[in-house]
Symmetry: C3
């Protein structure tokens, strides 16, 4: 059993000059409010003042595919981690799940999940031992006791975490009922929806036809053709904006963009309504919709986020047995220069648009994204995403993006998480990694300390606020 | 307003061991003459002893697309930066342009342009404040006064910069009149042309037909078919050599090489003469010409440079409004292993050829270029190019190229610049980055100090002289 | 003439904190036995107790394509390095070859070969000067004298090197006669064969038909169709297992996998038997065989290794004149996510399979391999391979693989070498690079010292033993 030590200098370069500069740069931003413009926390948690996080396994294991994938990769069946097969049973003894997790905690050595978990255990729950077989029972008892206390409710933790704004991710067909309940409750936590229409814009999304029906219903526009589809989307965007949304979010396998003729798009849409869209139809429709969505953003001012490059559900067996989001999404090589050409030629020079690009292919940082964002007024580069939201991922991002794109064409940090209790940890890692990067610039006399301090304010809060129009 | 401090240890690792070694390695090469075998300085500047650089905006802003692209990316129209639309007017008040630049100078924090500009302002013009809104007027006055002095003429600065040789880049159809004027003037500055025939070898170059007419005229060979085209090119090469050229330079979208049959190449050439060449014809012709140009280099000894991987004029709106070279060229993924196979199989084992390869796709450094250059006698790897001509770009280059290619299969440094006053800054960055890299090898006991000192001489001057046959 | 100094802190970061931690972590693993689960040492060396390494040129130059390629790249003909053309003569004066090597030893500055050679010269042969023109004769005499001594026989060095296990690489058609002789001799050195069937699974392998005849002969199964081919392979695997093999090894241009129908595979196989297989047939057959070989591994427990991404014999002239393995194999871009999908969907969830993936395309580390290995139970990531088996290659591997894959989904180290005397050097570089990486984690408070020490045991020995089932 070894201790969790959140050393005050953690993640900083061991070089004494860099370290002391990093500390000095980090200190003033360490406790700034958290701006979280992109994430996946369930708004339901905040809708009900009595909501709780459930058991320690509910909080830290079962929903966290970063954790369960690592255990699965070492041969531990997902069922034993409390993940229910679609037609079958999972382990329901949460204490047993917790024990399995603790026994295998060493697998997370040196991983971001290892860092986030230790931070949350220590800072949020006052635990100062690394989980292991020997302390599993004690830790479980300790956590369960804390989670039952009122001050560990989502709303209380939201306040304790000093979150200025938290954006959720919501389907185009969502009623935003939880967001409404939050507002109605009079609670002051700022929680905003984000418009994510993939379920209706991706013709291959499971249940697309059902979702279109839902879209018709909720928008009050009967979707019978492409024009009514667009009208329904626009009405939903208006509603989301009214509910506080500042952004939209879009996943696609590639960033391919292309404008179809009205005839071609109508034909594809009609095929889809009949359940006859081909994979090629779907790819062309996505390419077209990215342009249409950029047009909408120009008009309504919602910031557009694009997250391409993840081949979802790579493991067919796991997908069939357990469904999506089980840690089996694998990145692919991604190309932006040619794929975004049509969209950028049409909207890239228009400052009314902010298009934030993300990538899972780091080879594109220095090669494509930095050069694009260092030219087009509409472009910003999003923070290191998913597998790259890590100390090394951030360092590669700073080293490969900033010289060409310039700091001011980036968008600050996203925690992008479902795991609410990891939010302070994630922002802390970013602020520390930022301080370490900027300290390196000061130590090598590339920027001076005054500039460095301004850059730190931007990295911690300013860039995100500005990119997402949250000022 | 903050100072420009050109700290003597700038850009070196903050680690004291590495820093002191880097200083010791840098010192003896710091003031070696500058060898600039590849760049874009206008030879006209040196043809007329009375030539000047114009206003501060003429010198530092208007022609520098590294600077204007960054300002444009933040929403500043190019017209306001003094860049004239093809059919329209730009700001002509250079003091106003300068003010806008100074006000936005913070956008260049941590970028190579920021580094080069501060070096030139300080070292060349004695300015020790970073440009900002408050000092814009004073800096303008100061610079304008200096630029009017005779000792700030291009020739005087050339001498002050201690440039041993400067190679320009010149169209195949150029009369080289400025180079002739320089020679005729008796001035001793060594300025050499470089043969860049893209205008006539790229069938898609705007004005190709007109350029072919110009080629006929200037070579005295009427270009009516492929054979006469080749003959005209060979005569131009001979003339360039006679005028001091040591190298040729070629851009292409990809490094695809392939030899066409005489019938096929003639057919494409005849199509082109009639203005009927297709994009596919052009791609095949470029692939063929790269081999033909390698053959010519084998025969006449001109070093061949290949710069592939830039998708030119990505922003159609900017291209239509302002023309080329406005900061909208974006890199694409590049493949060398298969693309160069035909050329290397034919000429790669021939030491009479030196082919220097450049890349905008750093993923090819360790994967393809280092392995190719570590085998083929004819190959050398050029220095980090364009967006990668930066401190991090150089570090990645050293780390990813040298272990496999070996130092002696690289070609030293190119400044590749139009911005004459940035030349000392750029070579200084390279020499410092080199010293820092070699210091790291010494500090880790990979090479010893004697070896390190020899490597530094090579990096600063020797490799470039040898690769470009300038010894 | 400068000294070889094997500084005890070599390859560690110069930062004092990191360096002292690295030293502390390295020390306990420095002298652990060497586990070498993948390499190309000739088993014949150990079959005969009287075998010797020949001359200094035989040992260090002629068979080492890492060395000869670098000399060749600088214009030195392979013949002068003692490499015989298929129809011609090479230099036979080994002293002359040695002199040429010494005179050009500076070309290896900063390369892994330079490091390995200095280590072997110093540690194995007691030479403490870097080779150069001046000491060439003396070094030759010194080495020749040592090589003639009984204690420099392969078996004695094997023992002195403290090699616990050494796996060779052997054709499917090999009689494993040397392995049998080693066993029969009663010598205790553990030398195991590895099943490498590329000669019969790659329809484009030179001499495929002859190899199929040999396969029939040696297996006792007449190979007349696909079924008998598979049966023969399975019998050979059984024999290899019986002779101590724990693994198979497979090269392929790409990692493309796909299952053919029985009819399709039979048709291709029959074409091949008639010498009529097309390149497309061969690619599809390889894709199919990778799945078949995974199936066999599931059944017989042999660990499967896949080494894709090398375009063999890039230099046609060298290949025609000298044959394969002359330093002209060049990496290509590689894609794993889509290519391995069929294989992983069929066998990736099966813990009976261990599939160890290697790459020559480092862009796939963080993008594809780490994400795949961090999910599929059957996958492990092999160590940095070939051109990336270097200090920087290892650092990039640690930085790009470990955060997402986790240490425990990697496979430790392979020396992958023909050059027996470089084995201790190569493992030492790995152990030092590992210590330096882990020291950085400790210095930045990402793992604590207890964890670090456990990780070091894994990196030095444990991961390799476990991945290759050598426990």
């Amino acid at each position: 059993m070894t201790g969790i030590s959140l050393n005050p200098d953690r993640f900083f370069s061991p070089d004494p000059t860099t370290r002391s500069l990093a500390r000095r740069l980090y200190e003033p931003v360490a406790r700034l409010p958290i701006v979280s413009p992109h994430g996946h926390v369930d708004p339901r948690l905040f809708a009900d003042p009595q909501a709780t996080f459930g058991s320690p396994a509910d909080l830290f294991i079962i929903p966290d595919h970063y954790v369960t994938r690592m255990l699965y990769s070492q041969g531990i069946p997902l069922e034993q981690l409390g993940i229910s097969p679609l037609n079958g049973k999972a382990e329901t003894d949460h204490r047993k799940i917790w024990r399995l997790f603790c026994t295998n905690f060493h697998l997370l050595r040196g991983t971001p999940s290892g860092i986030w978990l230790q931070h949350a255990l220590s800072e949020v729950f006052g635990i100062n031992e690394k989980p292991c077989a020997d302390n599993a029972e004690n830790l479980y008892d300790h956590l369960a006791e804390r989670l039952a206390r009122p001050e560990y409710s989502p709303r209380k933790l939201f306040e304790r975490f000093n979150i200025a704004v938290l954006c959720t991710t919501d389907a185009a067909t969502s009623t935003l009922e939880h967001h409404r309940a939050i507002r109605a409750s009079g609670w002051q936590g700022q929680i905003r929806p984000t418009f994510r229409p993939d379920g209706v814009t991706n013709l291959e999304a499971p249940g697309w036809q059902a979702d279109i029906l839902r879209l018709s219903e909720i928008s009050g526009v009967e979707v019978v053709d492409y024009a009514s589809f667009i009208q329904a989307l626009e009405m939903r965007r208006e509603f989301f904006k009214h509910m506080g949304a500042v952004a939209t979010d879009h996943a696609s396998l590639t960033p391919f963009t292309a404008e179809l003729t009205p005839g071609a798009v109508e034909q594809i849409f009609q095929h889809a309504l009949k359940g006859q869209a081909t994979p090629n139809d779907a790819a062309r429709f996505t390419a077209h919709m990215l342009m249409e969505l950029a047009r909408m953003s120009v008009e309504d001012g919602l910031v557009m986020q694009l997250h391409p490059g993840s081949l979802r559900n790579h493991n067919a067996g796991i997908f069939q047995q357990f469904g999506p989001d089980k840690g089996a999404d694998i990145p692919i090589q991604t190309e932006y220069t040619r794929n975004l050409l049509p969209l950028l030629n049409k909207y890239g020079n228009d400052s009314r648009l902010t298009l934030i690009l993300f990538t899972l292919d780091e080879a594109t940082y220095a090669r494509e994204l930095a050069a694009l964002a260092g030219h087009y007024p509409a472009l910003k580069i999003g923070p290191p995403w998913w597998f790259h939201d890590s100390l090394n991922g951030m360092q590669r991002y700073f080293d490969q993006v900033m010289e060409t794109a310039g700091l001011y064409n980036t968008a600050g940090f996203n925690d992008d998480t479902r795991a609410f209790c990891s939010i302070p940890a994630r922002h802390d890692v970013w602020r520390r990694a930022s301080a370490n990067w900027v300290a390196g610039l000061v130590a090598r006399h590339i920027v001076d300390l005054d500039e460095a301090q301004e850059m730190m304010q931007e990295l911690a809060v300013g860039l995100a606020r500005r990119a997402y129009r949250l000022a």
